[in-house]
């Protein structure tokens, strides 16, 4: 890991949310507030053991935090770390659509301004 601060460095965070099951779990935790391995496994097509393992991965990168809950642990999403993951995403792979729309609008504005300039020059000649 390099010391540079930037969207490129957080490989652990990226791979943690790169798994579809873990993303689905994050979605459930975000919409439901908190959950245990048992409650999450009831809403997902995977075993409680598999969910517990995924929660461990998310916990290690700080995306979720656990508090004791009876014989289980109750997990909730760390808002700050989640925002960080989303911010990295917006800076890296995603939102090319938005960028391309901006490219389009800037280029078309320039094109229009050049056309206007051409017209003015034509008028001066007349």
């Amino acid at each position: 890991m390099t010391p540079t601060v930037g969207p490129a460095i957080d490989d652990d965070l990226w791979s943690a949310v790169g798994d579809p099951t873990r993303r689905r779990m994050l979605d459930l935790l975000l919409s439901g507030g908190a959950g245990t391995a048992t409650s999450l496994s009831e809403q997902l097509p995977v075993t409680r053991q598999a969910v517990a393992k995924h929660l461990g991965v998310l916990d290690r990168v700080g995306l979720v935090h656990a508090t004791p809950y009876g014989r289980e642990k109750r997990y909730h999403v760390d808002d700050e770390q989640f925002a960080r993951a989303v911010a990295q995403l917006s800076a890296v792979g995603a939102t090319w659509d938005a960028r391309l729309q901006r490219i389009k609008r800037i280029a078309e504005a320039i094109e229009r301004s050049q056309d206007d300039t051409d017209n003015e020059n034509d008028n001066e000649k007349r």
């Binding site: 390099t2 540079t4 601060v5 930037g6 969207p7 490129a8 460095i9 490989d11 990226w14 791979s15 949310v17 790169g18 798994d19 579809p20 993303r23 989303v86 911010a87 995403l89 917006s90 800076a91 890296v92 792979g93 995603a94 939102t95 090319w96 659509d97 938005a98 960028r99 391309l100 729309q101 901006r102 490219i103 389009k104 609008r105 800037i106 280029a107 078309e108 504005a109 320039i110 094109e111 229009r112 301004s113 050049q114 206007d116 300039t117």
Partner: protein, 155 residues
């Protein structure tokens, strides 16, 4: 399902020459992408920084960008996301390629970004999952409108 690349194609009602300038020149890059940029030229081999700030630090996120290919007005390619002190290569950076094709009314602009798998990422998958959560681009829209208005007004 895993994606190895992001591919997009849009039509722009402007000549390839204009579109090429917008995708390649630092002063335009800054208007559609990072908060700030340090890149001396758009020639192959040119290296600079893409800079994003936050409330506390104007250089909160800084990554390198290296121009790989420049063939105006047809093709512009660069690598990015490598650390500032690293040479851009396969495995430490993403490769973005813009391909421009003239049409009757403007330019067909094709963008391909590759290198996710080589970096061990599944960013393209992330994109699909999290696009709903990302609201951060809203502030670019007013900025763009101002920029576009200024260009038109200065003509």
């Amino acid at each position: 399902m895993e994606y190895a690349s992001i591919e997009r194609e849009i039509h722009v009602q402007a000549s390839p020459e204009v579109v090429f300038e917008v995708v390649s020149r630092p002063e335009h890059l800054k208007e559609w992408w990072p908060d700030d940029i340090s890149l001396d030229s758009s020639a192959p081999g040119a290296t600079g920084e893409l800079i994003w700030g936050d409330d506390a630090n104007p250089r909160a996120n800084v990554v390198a960008m290296t121009v790989v290919e420049s063939d105006p007005p047809r093709r512009f390619a660069f690598r990015w996301t490598h650390a500032i002190d690293e040479e851009a290569e396969v495995g430490n950076s993403l490769l973005v390629v813009f391909e421009l094709t003239p049409t009757d009314t403007g330019t067909s602009l094709r963008m391909t970004e590759t290198g996710f798998r080589e970096m061990g990422w599944e960013a393209a998958v992330l994109e699909a999952a999290y696009v709903d959560h990302v609201q951060g681009w809203d502030h670019f829209i007013p900025r763009l409108r101002t920029y576009a208005d200024r260009l038109v007004a200065s003509s």
